[in-house]
């Protein structure tokens, strides 16, 4: 009985995942430009700009199926555990690494959670800005999580991914999406240099991401 239930749950998760990617394709016809790196299997941390809740769905959608199956988004626990449906989508469909954004309440260190997911062989999708950017600046200052992760697991490729137009598709607080074409540009991988300071590394990661937007000066 338990086995049947589990099989049903995973079938439902698979179908929901398929439905979500189909919907994402219908709305935004996402296009992946593999500019600095090929879509081959390698363990990676994809880090991207964050302007909408659809961000990781789009990265997830354009990844080839074999890569997608082993890629987990890093997402906020408080958002994804709010309702049973969200919890199902977050946990079962996307297999998200759920981290607690509230330092005073959390029991697990987010960076340790991410490192553990990497140790299991997964790739990660990470939004180093920490929250959604709804302002006019193209990119908010990075939080330090990316640096700490890079220091703990220095042999994993960090791949910048610039997502264009999604802020117009689904601005914060809107429920109806405007169907516009989104482009995802995958840049060349970077790693932490042994002697690099936190500030220098975060600045380098941030500018490598911004360079993909075509808006950098």
């Amino acid at each position: 009985m338990e086995g049947v239930k589990a099989a049903l749950r995973s079938a439902a998760a698979l179908a929901t995942g398929k439905a979500i990617t189909l919907f994402a394709r219908f709305v935004t016809a996402p296009r992946a430009l593999w500019q600095g790196i090929e879509p081959t299997y390698a363990q990676r941390v994809y880090f991207a700009n964050h302007s909408s809740n659809g961000d990781f769905v789009l990265i997830w959608t354009v990844l080839p199926a074999a890569l997608r199956a082993r890629t987990r988004p890093v997402a906020a626990l408080d958002y994804w555990l709010k309702s049973p449906l969200r919890a199902f989508i977050g946990r079962e469909v996307f297999n998200a690494v759920l981290i607690d954004r509230r330092p005073e309440e959390r029991t697990e260190d987010p960076v340790a959670q991410m490192a553990a997911a990497l140790d299991e062989g997964s790739s990660l999708i990470l939004f180093p800005e920490g929250g959604r950017n709804s302002g006019e600046t193209p990119l908010l200052p990075f939080k330090s999580g990316l640096y700490h992760l890079a220091r703990m697991r220095p042999n994993v490729d960090l791949v910048p991914v610039w997502i264009s137009n999604l802020n117009h598709v689904m601005p914060k607080g809107k429920v109806v999406p405007v169907p516009l074409i989104c482009t995802l540009t995958f840049g060349a991988a970077l790693r932490l240099d042994p002697n690099e300071s936190k500030e220098a590394f975060l600045a380098r990661a941030s500018s490598s991401l911004l360079a993909l937007s075509g808006e950098a000066a």
Binding site: A29, H168, V176, P177, V178, P179, I181
Partner: protein, 315 residues
């Protein structure tokens, strides 16, 4: 749809052309480019493959009847509008007017065509959407680049919804002696316009030298235009017996729609240049986006519709 015998003939003819084109493409690849590295030959073959898909899709819609044709062009409008509005100026204040463009204006326009409400579908976008959508944007308060934003949105709706919807609108015309065969108007229009595009490309590649608009498009030449428009007119006119027109009238119609098609390509190229893109999209392999393939139909369809309606329709 009783245009069946003529429709089958035309589709059969198109299939023969595509078989021939496929053979030529494969021979060219085998002879000149066995490695598959020549971009011109690869693009040619990708285009031919996409043509098979487009003709198949159109055939399915024709078989499905009026509803199928209206649905197909509504979906094409959707894809085109998505491409166009991806490039236009916008602000978060426009969110609801843009969403309304996709989810209210577009379906309503095609619903009006389904109802055959000529009096409303011919003014709905140019009058009602034109006046009301900017109100939605204005109510959200942001005035930066306001005129540019609303003007570009209106342009997108005119091109992608209003103009494209005039293709299925051809089904609503009532032409004495042509009852039940209106689908042939669509098939013939699209055939002539696209044939003209292809022949302009072929003539241009073979003997094209003098550019029509070097700033806009390096591939549009006078030789291509004249050769393509004339040969497409010749072929289109020779099919006059499928249409409600006489031989001379069909030739005149062909000239008008091939020229409008050419102008469509020119204007849409100017917009692409302005926005700094090479293609409107990426979803049709070898061709680019939906607007890249539809630009000539977009400009030809409303004019063809009104000429036919004015001179041949009973109502």
């Amino acid at each position: 749809m009783n245009g069946a015998p003529h429709l089958l003939l035309l589709l059969g003819g198109v299939a023969c052309i595509l078989v021939l084109a496929t053979l030529i493409g494969q021979v060219l690849r085998a002879r000149l480019d066995p490695q598959g590295t020549d971009p011109v030959i690869e693009n040619l073959n990708a285009r031919i493959a996409a043509w098979w898909g487009m003709v198949a899709l159109l055939s399915v819609a024709f078989i499905a009847g009026r509803g199928g044709v209206i649905l197909l062009f509504a979906l094409l409008s959707f894809a085109a509008l998505r491409e166009f509005l991806s490039l236009t100026a916008k602000h978060a204040a426009d969110h609801w007017s843009l969403a309304a463009g996709f989810f209210v204006i577009l379906p309503l326009q095609y619903w009006l065509i389904w109802l055959d409400w000529y009096g409303l579908y011919s003014v709905f976008v140019p009058v009602y959407a034109f006046l009301l959508l900017p109100v939605v944007s204005a109510l959200h308060g942001n005035t930066k680049h306001f005129l540019i934003r609303v003007a570009e949105t209106q342009w997108a709706l005119m091109i992608c919804v209003f103009c494209i919807s005039h293709v299925p609108a051809l089904l609503t015309l009532q032409i004495p002696g042509f009852e039940g065969r209106n689908v042939m108007l669509i098939a013939w229009l699209i055939f002539v316009v696209q044939l003209s595009d292809v022949l302009q490309y072929v003539w241009g590649k073979l003997i094209g030298r003098r550019k029509v608009a070097p700033n806009l498009s390096p591939s549009k030449t006078w030789e291509g235009l004249v050769g393509g428009a004339l040969s497409a007119t010749l072929i289109g006119a020779s099919l006059w017996w499928m249409t409600p027109f006489t031989l001379t009238q069909a030739a005149g119609m062909c000239l008008v729609i091939t020229l409008m098609g050419f102008f469509g390509g020119l204007v849409m190229s100017a917009i692409k240049r302005d926005k700094g893109v090479k293609d409107w999209g990426h979803l049709i392999a070898g061709h680019g986006g939906f607007i890249d393939r539809l630009d000539s139909v977009i400009f030809a369809a409303p004019i063809f519709f009104h000429l036919t309606r004015y001179w041949y329709s009973a109502v």
